[in-house]
Symmetry: D2
Subunit: 319 residues, 4 copies
């Protein structure tokens, strides 16, 4: 029997609740005791926690967000706070900590590990910019949400013969933009991993209009520039203003897709076994259909970028 | 047998296609011939039109937007253009014109009527600010779309214990904000019809937090101010920043609800009969369950405002 | 200050939770105390209840079903059980009982009233067969759910050039079939209120095929006959088999539409005021946009039937 | 330049249109000419075809079903019909045929190959029982549709404290039941790949009730038995009747998920290149993230079964 702690950290992502449920239920199934810290690392610093039982995670499987709360907590670089968090961990006689979050959260986890806290990370971030897993928990749902918005915007774009720029999340990575843009048949997709060429973009849109397209949709990852900036540049170049939509936090919410629920369930269950086996300092992910572990340091050091083949496929299919 | 023209004008709204289908099919069913002008009054000015048959409107019933196109066309105040439009109408020997749109579109319709064009208006605008009908076509769908976004934002607001301001459409009227805010359980709803009191808003949010609320959602009609402006004011007053989301054109799109399809079907069918009966200068709407006609001039002169009872109900139920 | 009891009874309907929330919160806002009985009249008979507070109904506004449970309880005709229920009511010193349900539930309520229990009914049933209200709580959502299924079935019907019969709820009333069928553009709609003519149905489908329709959808209210029976009859007559889909309980669930949430909120709030004013034996409904009360006996005696104009409109628009 | 034919066959699946679009547009992009045969092999036998252009597949990317029609065509075992089909193919001087469908369709494709028709198969079937690909086109969408229905049924099951059996598609394979059941938190999942033990099922449900569960959902693949049969067996054993829902064709329809659109786009594009390279007799699929080809004979001979680890995970997480 181990005493295993779990927390969710950083931006919330659909499927975090399903992951939590798997940690709790597989943990109890294996004979361990599971404790949740509230609101990310803050709960560890301030010792806000509760033991979790099977019923604690009842009825949360298909709900968005995270019932144990999460927080961006930039202060957690302060060695004093990290020490306090490690102290809480030891005071409660925990055997390991599962951190569900993204890059920033894994930095915090590694800092704790240096103070002797065994940690296992799980990738929960809609941006999908984590190395060591094909998909992060929440990414699949975010793509569906954006696709749904694209379909709605197409109605208006088409009725008004307009160009609409849709700014989506993705500071360092264009995954959401690429998958949703390809699935939504966007006339152009702009991602941080590819060079931005205004000339090229305008040519693409203008030739579409010349071929008789009634509307154009440009899906723009926020990491490239803002929709407002792009609109100004396009107006200067092409002479007409594009409308802009910034999807914002809408992308974060919603009931998770089956894929996110299942991914979270698999990873959550495996994280328990890794902790129990004494593993530490790794993230559990899924690559090419297999559960794998990757050192957290490696996850942080190398950012995952989009698949250029997919990008070129998207461009080749828009005519 | 009459020759009846139809066009959609102003911002597109879900259910415009269902309305068009009803005009076409009921028209043909009654023995008339139906012609569509493309892209609003612009199509009338430039004589871009086509005869519509039963099959022309097949498979459009549940689709958003409008297949005959629409346009904002502020130039249509120019008497020269209005004359050209009336000339097209007479040249094609039309007997009447059905205009699906909002206030601005009805102004254009009235200008045409002065030149001898028999016109009947149908209220198609998500803002629901048209007198003479309880609901405008598209409003019901827009409310559902906003409610869906509110539910998604609540996941994130709740996980992060944040305040989120959601700016929705409604320049002169708070209908979307009121209905979606009430249905979504928003902690505060700000509409142009009610005085804005920063003090009051902050008090409401703070007392919610004091009672243990994990999140606050503020639904803001764009006519009050922008979400960005409100966020700055709240920060000055309450000391913490609210996040903002501007839903924008997403509210315009999407497959219409059953209510919008049915409303559009009823109004479209009735408009044909009004034209055939020689009626002109009115809008057909539905009030208290009955189809009614209201002079277009009256529709334009008096703006429909929200039901204050509903507003107070919303406020009484949030605790 | 009054002590007001509330229960949900009969089949569950989306919006019951929103109604419950309004009863509880408006009740407390007005200075009353509110108590819920669990699982319908059964909870009253067996005295299973709990006081409700503002927080008891937090986070339920947009959830389907009813958190206080409901039950079909045919035994509640037994005078002994009714006496026991009335005894519980008096024992707990309640001042009034709000019953959210349909016809059967109102019969139970009237039986209790005869024993001196002040009762107010609220119409909660997806079938929408209750007199005294234009829409029952849950009906709007059920129509959207069925419309969504019709849209999915159309994909398959169209790809395979098939006829599909969709059996929907409505034992005595064709409201769901009519509104969803009209909104979904069904080629035929069969409801209990209209005579069934096989000849006519087959003619309608065959002439559609002759005009080049790739698919036919028949929406059938269960009160007419089962989809299986109809399929056999059609095969005998037309020589080809239609596929059948029975939507069943899927129609009952789901997050309520804004309309159902708002209707439930209005009616729940008003029921509290009626009870407090000493009113009894009535149902609160909404007709032509106004909240109205109707004697429960009248609600039970006269069944609400569909609007034939709407039926004929649907038929006129399918070509 | 090649002349490449494409058809969709068997049950329709969401994403078939996206696949078709990819075949057409990548084909034209590579300099080929693309022709569609209507309604599966029937169109090949009866020579019903049309050349496809970029605009022919505009606006279909996110639509369910297949615009070129499909048909079950059991007669296509008749050597005479196969010969006629091959004759059409040669008459039109086609260089290759892309068949989008499932097992049955690939048998037809192989029969054609024996007569000298170069064929490449693409897996389009919601059942996901095709070897040679991790996911078939349409499967991901079907799982989401079923998950959505499970969430709706849970509302009713929970409100009424009932057991509901949901029968889903899957004659030979339990993929839909497994993924949707796991994601929906079903209390029991019955699939053809696992032995059915009534004792075990009842024990599982009863112990859930004993632990305080308010409802039980049983997801049943049609290949095990019908929902009606299971309900009778459960009643005999446990003494209470479960409600049943048969989802049927609803599972086939709907706008495809981003995953299905992208999978279809990748496979469709690759199939063009395989045909152009002279490859024949294989199916293109995606396994572990890589596009791979598998001999059609092998696809047919070995059926893909569910992953038992996933099944056991689902069972371990339900408490």
């Amino acid at each position: 029997m181990k005493r295993i702690a779990v927390l969710t950290s950083g931006g919330d992502a659909p499927g975090m609740n399903a992951t939590l449920r798997a940690v709790v239920r597989m943990g109890i199934h294996r004979g361990h005791r599971i404790f949740a810290f509230y609101n990310g690392f803050k709960g560890l610093v301030e010792n806000e926690s509760a033991e979790m039982y099977n019923r604690s995670v009842g009825d949360i499987l298909t709900r968005g967000g995270t019932i144990i709360g999460t927080a961006r907590y930039p202060e957690f670089k302060d060695p004093e706070l990290i020490k306090r968090a490690a102290r809480t961990f030891k005071l409660l006689e925990m055997d390991g900590l599962i951190v569900i979050g993204g890059d920033g959260s894994f930095r915090g986890a590694l800092a704790l590990e240096e103070l002797g806290v065994p940690v296992v990370g799980l990738p929960g971030t809609i941006d999908n910019d984590c190395n060591g897993t094909d998909n992060a928990i929440g990414f699949d749902t975010a793509v569906e949400t954006v696709l749904d918005c694209i379909k709605k915007l197409r109605d208006t774009a088409s009725s008004h013969q307009r160009t609409i720029i849709i700014e989506v999340m993705g500071r360092h990575s264009g995954w959401i933009a690429l998958k949703a843009g390809l699935a939504g048949g966007a006339e152009a997709i702009l991602v941080p991993e590819m060079p931005f060429e205004l000339e090229d973009l305008c040519h693409r849109l203008e030739s579409g209009i010349a071929r008789g397209k009634k509307h154009s949709l440009v899906v723009l990852a926020e990491g490239v520039m803002s929709a407002g900036e792009l609109s100004v540049m396009m107006k200067d170049k092409m002479g007409f203003a594009a409308n802009t939509v910034v999807l914002g936090y809408v992308q974060r919410g919603g009931s998770p897709t089956a894929n996110d629920i299942i991914l979270g369930s698999k990873l959550g269950a495996r994280a328990v076994d890794e902790i129990a086996a004494g593993v530490s300092g790794v993230m559990v992910g899924e690559m090419k259909g297999e559960l794998v572990t990757t050192p957290l340091q490696k996850v942080i050091d190398e950012r995952k970028i989009i698949d250029p083949t997919l990008y070129h496929l998207a461009m080749d299919l828009v005519h």
